[in-house]
Symmetry: C2
Subunit: 391 residues, 2 copies
């Protein structure tokens, strides 16, 4: 075990990248839901490991990064089959949050965020269906992106909810972050920045007051960088209404994904994870229909808000990382509150990037920028300019 | 690990009994929900083990047996915190059914039944709230008793559902079985047998036809022994109605028992176990009220059926042990069918004893005798006479 408990137990997976590529000299870690040929994909659950053969091929993202010259240094702990947002894993333990050691790292890409924040590698891969890159990026003070849905090839990655699943990554600095993005998106950073900045006032108001205060200087610098600022409502129907809809849709899809495995293997889960699966199994077609209509409304709202050249910002999480080892009865509402600020990702498919740079009581909390579909590299360009302007 | 995987992993707990007692020379195993001083009570779940201190005192049953001269040879695998009827444990593995190695042993007192059936000890302690002694006794071809509720002191034993919890035991022969009973019930076997035998026709009809055929010779010998035979309905409201009521009552009590632990420790469970707990957490007061009324009816029915001197017989289980490794979707209905033949125990508190002696396709299945409250030793006397008459 590494000092951070970021990597899965056992022999450390290590594969050198091709020489002379764009990412030459960089090292990266791979969330253990993403295939690395010859190494088991454990998925954060001993019975997932047991049920799945060792992959013979790299996931597309891993192969692409290796070809570009980056080297794999290990596979990282994840919440069980990506079903978690806090980073506590009852089987593998909770990776350390190097920026706030008494707090959780966030999840489900917990070990990847921990490894990057702790300086064990230059960047790391994660997945984000309901917030699993954005939340640990906010909690560990990292750049992290949920790319446009469908932008990054998902082959060789454990599916949870196909309509919401994305593959993203973490880095400590915007330049490294963007270099990886140019390779994975197979395009160069744009030279022009957006010209319009929207502030989602409903999302701001939903965050703890201390978070609003901590993020205000970042927002001020960002408005200066973009040159404008307008207040808007992100979700006129309610952030919590969007959250309910996404919970129904993502829950139904994840139940469909995992039910055959549950049936045959009767796998072990932490009680909180099993409970969410059971609740998902009881969702009805009527609930799914209503949720799908709300998704169509959310999609339309996001397109209307975000024409080309516009970005929107909001607190990534409503609070910094909760303390480690809280009770289930304390964590339930915290999880739900977090997802009120992340559900738009799965509902609308737009890209979202966490900018690190603020803290509350010494624990990081991030500011997110959201752009229209396909604006991933624009968001990275903003991050780079923002980092430069903040230096 | 022993060859049967009957005992919990690690150093084997061994304590010699006092010399010169009534049980001198006998060895016994202890279900790992029952305290043995100085040894952890693991409860079939790694997070139960972690949450509970090593007991400083023996459970009353263990102390009483040691004082009577019997020696402990180990602690046995149980379904997770007694929540199971088949004996499959995702953490510790499934104990072998020595009489039908390709089938489950039954649970939750799985390891105790396995150890006795495999000849590793003379008798073994179990607990029975919903069938956890009766079912493995039927599946492994053993004498096994669910005593009158409250007859055997439950101190030092892990509580599941107080209104249903009992502590019972297994043996291969009726004489050993009765010797243990005389010590634990602190009384001698009666010299007179019951004079009236009732046959629960609803329960017989509910069993597989092959089981009815297999048990018919045993029933014939039993009627000859008692001298009479009358057909009755055990549950005029329906065995399945009684089962629903007991499921509500026992589920509600077990949720109340385990919820504080779930909240603090978020323990790992096999999915099927977690699902039952989640379903139990959603029961309503209205359901509990209706179930409590049905329990009052069942209690009244049983008292009416069983005046002193009367016993009732029924198949212990509707089929022999299912094959190992079936899917959750196949097991759910089997579990429910089993509990249709066991729910009267928790509902009415009367004692029930499994007589081994029949088999279907080479796998054991037992005939149960049920008597009025407090008739435990009478049932053991019937078992002894029945074994003699069958020899």
């Amino acid at each position: 075990m590494d000092d951070l408990n970021a990597f899965v137990a056992g022999e450390r997976c290590a594969i050198s990248g091709a020489s002379g590529g764009k990412l030459s000299g960089l090292t990266f870690a791979v969330k253990d839901l993403i295939d690395v040929a010859g190494w088991p994909t454990g998925g954060g659950n001993p019975d997932w490991l047991r049920a799945n053969p060792v992959p013979a091929r790299h996931a597309w993202v891993v192969q692409t990064l290796l070809t570009a010259g980056a080297s794999v240094i290990g596979k990282t702990i994840t919440d069980e089959v990506s079903l978690g947002i806090l980073g506590e894993n009852a089987h593998d333990g909770t990776p350390l949050n190097p920026k706030a050691p008494d707090r959780v790292p966030g999840g489900s890409s917990s070990g990847s965020a921990s490894a990057v924040a702790g300086g064990l590698c230059d960047f790391a891969l994660g997945t984000d269906s309901g917030g699993s890159v954005r939340v640990p990026a906010s909690f560990c003070g990292l750049y992290g992106i949920r790319p446009t849905h469908g932008r990054i090839d998902f082959s060789g990655i454990t599916v949870q909810a196909p309509s919401a699943d994305t593959c993203g990554w973490f880095a400590r600095d915007a330049a490294t972050f963007a270099r990886v993005g140019e390779v994975l998106c197979n395009a160069a950073l744009p030279t022009r920045l957006p010209t319009r900045l929207l502030v989602a006032t409903d999302a701001w108001g939903f965050a703890d007051e201390a978070v609003q205060i901590a993020l205000t200087p970042m927002l001020a610098r960002l408005s200066t960088l973009i040159g404008t600022r307008e207040d808007v409502l992100l979700a006129p129907q309610g952030l919590s209404v969007w959250q309910r809809a996404q919970r129904v849709l993502q829950g139904s899809e994840s139940w469909k994904t995992f039910e055959p495995w549950l049936d045959v293997y009767n796998p072990r889960f932490a009680f909180s994870v099993a409970r969410n699966l059971v609740m998902a199994s009881m969702l009805t077609d009527a609930e799914r229909s209503a949720a799908a209509l709300m998704r169509a409304e959310a999609w339309a709202r996001m397109r209307q808000l975000l024409p080309d050249g516009t970005i929107l910002c909001l607190p990534t999480t409503p609070f910094p990382a909760p303390r480690r080892g809280l009770r289930n009865s304390e964590l339930g509402f915290l999880r739900e509150r977090i997802s009120c600020l992340t559900s738009h990702g799965g509902l609308t498919g737009v890209p979202q990037l966490n900018l690190p740079g603020a803290s509350v009581d010494g624990a990081p909390v991030g500011l997110s920028i959201v752009g229209p579909h396909g604006s991933d590299l624009t968001l990275m360009a903003v991050a780079l300019a923002f980092e430069g302007a903040s230096a």
